[in-house]
């Protein structure tokens, strides 16, 4: 072996697929009868969804007093869950937009899936700012809508920026997702046997014909949307971090927050994509498309973003000492040794130590281990938001104002309930929509490249091709 030897890139789609077998592989999931397991999962999700609706109903009736909030800790699980869900959503945009701009073709296997996750995660996130306002019937004060006071929202407030950022993010993600779905809806429209199915998919396909004059504008739109979604996703979590960083609470008022939040968001989002993907590819037999190579690549992302997050934790600590502000110093020592040390060390173990296992190639390619770690990472990322929110508020400046925060049953039921919301949507998506971008997968098959046929033709044809080139 020479020094120039390189590791050849693995084929992106395994198992000798051609265009029609790809179509069949993915559309069959939608066309075949619903598996029993789906009904069971959907039933459980629906029960949890009712838990959510019940918790919200009681909250609206009774007020935010049913939560564990107390005097110093005015922000509890609601904000933690909001940031957690929004963060999970970011991986979908990273995969669909940023990896697209970097021409990472392996993203096509998981982008549809991850974008769906984004949209449902953002819906779950949006529940919390919607309901935590207490008087939910005046939630429209958050938007610049004329009201009886003649007042407008405060454009100096990061919380208002957040309203704009997250709602823009949701809208753009939904549009991006839909644009990707249109050609695949057309595929289903042309395939499904039932009349109702044909009508419904036909409506959503908008009359797509796959004309090249359409593909030209389509590809342009896709590229522009990717270009828009990239700064958007970075801005959204930056603005989420401003909710904290623009305040003067010790432990929050730091400039490292925006990049650190974005890295954490990608970290938790990739973990969530892995969790869902490993289950889905097993159940629906999609291992040819979502290969072990994909899992390895995603584990590399987990490892690097996990290390970035770990770096940020340590850097925060260092700056608290180096900055010399005693309240800052106390806030960090208190995190590691105070009454919430259990949460801090859970966070450290799950987020910083566990992804380091992926330095070993054997672990990166181990599906079971990846599945377990992907859940561990999301537990860790939930605790990160808990540590940031609660420790800083519970013990800030004056010891006389300190208090210990613990959640009530309604905090827990609301959080558990959002899983019901998420999985209800996600299961409907798996059942009725193409869960892999069919057209995009075909594009990355070797047969999609016109040059493929020059290399694979018999000699007679080859001559013809070279002649045309000469002309």
């Amino acid at each position: 072996m020479s020094n120039n030897a390189f590791v050849p890139e693995q084929p992106l789609v395994k198992g000798n697929h051609n265009f029609s077998s790809i179509t069949a592989l993915i559309s069959d999931i939608v066309e075949k009868p619903t598996p029993i397991g789906w009904y069971i999962a959907f039933g459980i999700s629906n029960i949890l969804l009712f838990v959510l609706l019940g918790s919200i109903g009681y909250l609206v009736w009774e007020g935010t007093g049913i939560w564990g909030l107390n005097n110093p800790v005015g922000w509890g699980w609601a904000i933690i869950n909001f940031v957690w869900w929004v963060g999970i959503g970011h991986a979908g945009t990273l995969i669909s937009a940023i990896l697209f701009l970097f021409r990472q073709d392996w993203r096509t296997a998981i982008n549809r899936f991850a974008e769906a996750m984004t949209i449902f995660a953002v819906i779950c996130a949006l529940v919390f700012p919607g309901i935590h306002v207490g008087r939910i019937w005046v939630a429209y004060y958050m938007f610049p809508i004329p009201n009886q006071m003649g007042m407008w929202p405060n454009f100096n407030s990061p919380l208002l920026w957040d309203v704009f950022a997250v709602s823009t993010y949701f809208t753009v993600s939904l549009l991006f997702w839909f644009v990707g779905l249109v050609p695949d809806f057309a595929t289903l429209r042309d395939r499904v046997k039932s009349k109702i199915g044909r009508i419904i998919y036909g409506v959503f396909a908008l009359g797509w014909r796959g004309a090249n004059k359409q593909w030209q504008n389509y590809e342009k739109a896709y590229m522009i949307l990717a270009g828009l979604a990239t700064p958007l996703v970075l801005s959204v979590h930056t603005i989420v971090s401003f909710d904290f960083a623009v305040s003067i609470v010790p432990g929050w008022h730091t400039t490292i927050f925006p990049p650190y939040f974005v890295a954490g968001a990608v970290f938790s989002g990739f973990a969530m994509v892995l969790t869902l993907m490993i289950i889905a590819r097993k159940i629906y037999g999609l291992s040819d498309i979502m290969t072990d190579d994909h899992i390895e690549k995603m584990n590399l992302v987990l490892m690097s973003t996990g290390s970035m997050v770990g770096f940020a934790y340590i850097m925060e600590f260092f700056i608290a000492w180096y900055g010399g502000v005693e309240y800052e110093k106390f806030a960090f020592i208190n995190r590691a040794t105070g009454s919430y040390a259990w949460a801090y060390w859970t966070m450290m173990t799950c987020n910083v130590i566990s992804p380091q296992l992926f330095w070993v190639k054997k672990f990166r390619r181990n599906v079971t281990l990846t599945f377990i770690l992907s859940i561990v990472v999301n537990i860790g990322m939930w605790f990160e938001r808990f540590v940031i929110t609660v420790t800083s508020l519970a013990n800030d400046y004056l010891p006389s104002a300190w208090d210990y925060y613990s959640p009530t049953i309604f905090d827990i039921s609301t959080y558990i309930g959002t899983f019901g919301l998420f999985f209800t949507f996600f299961l409907l998506f798996l059942r009725f929509m193409p869960m892999v971008a069919i057209a995009e997968i075909k594009m990355i098959l070797p047969q999609a490249n016109p040059h493929y046929y020059e290399e694979h033709q018999n000699d007679g044809h080859k001559q013809e091709v070279t002649e045309t080139v000469k002309h």
Binding site: W161, F164, P183, D190, R209, N212, L232, A448
Partner: protein, 179 residues
Amino acid sequence: MANTLFGLLAEYEHPAALLRAAEKVRDAGYQKFDTYSPFPVHGMDDAMGLKPSKLGWIVFIHGLLGLTGALAMITFMAYFDYQVNISGKPYLNWPAFVPVTFELTVLLSAFGAVFGMFFLNGLPRHNHPLFNSEKFLRATDDKFFLCIESEDTLFAEEKAQKILTECGAIHIEKIYDND
């Protein structure tokens, strides 16, 4: 119910054949023809002689609208209509206006990109003569088509049929517009 001829639809085996056919049809001087494939074929825009998409301009104009609209809205609300003193900050607090302005610019640009794309593509559209063809159902699966439309000034049935066959069509059918 006049059944007018919409065009001639030729089917090709694979993307390379379609690409060569498009080049030939372009070189023969046809303007109103289009290729149909389950995914965008690399190099087809040049093979068909298409001009670059105008979508970029639509997005740019929408983005500009978002930018100026957001700034106009914020200055109207925070400065002209109802001033509120918030911890002594200036009423025209430009740095604080950046996030909302940015978000609205992106939002409007994205609207421009998506709805502009549908507009340029003539979508949504209820029906199309091509959907009368049984074979055409596989244009979204694994087959590749080229259609020369009868509206083209050069269009003559035999000549068009000849050129489509010459570049290796495996099936040719007439498409009628039956409404």
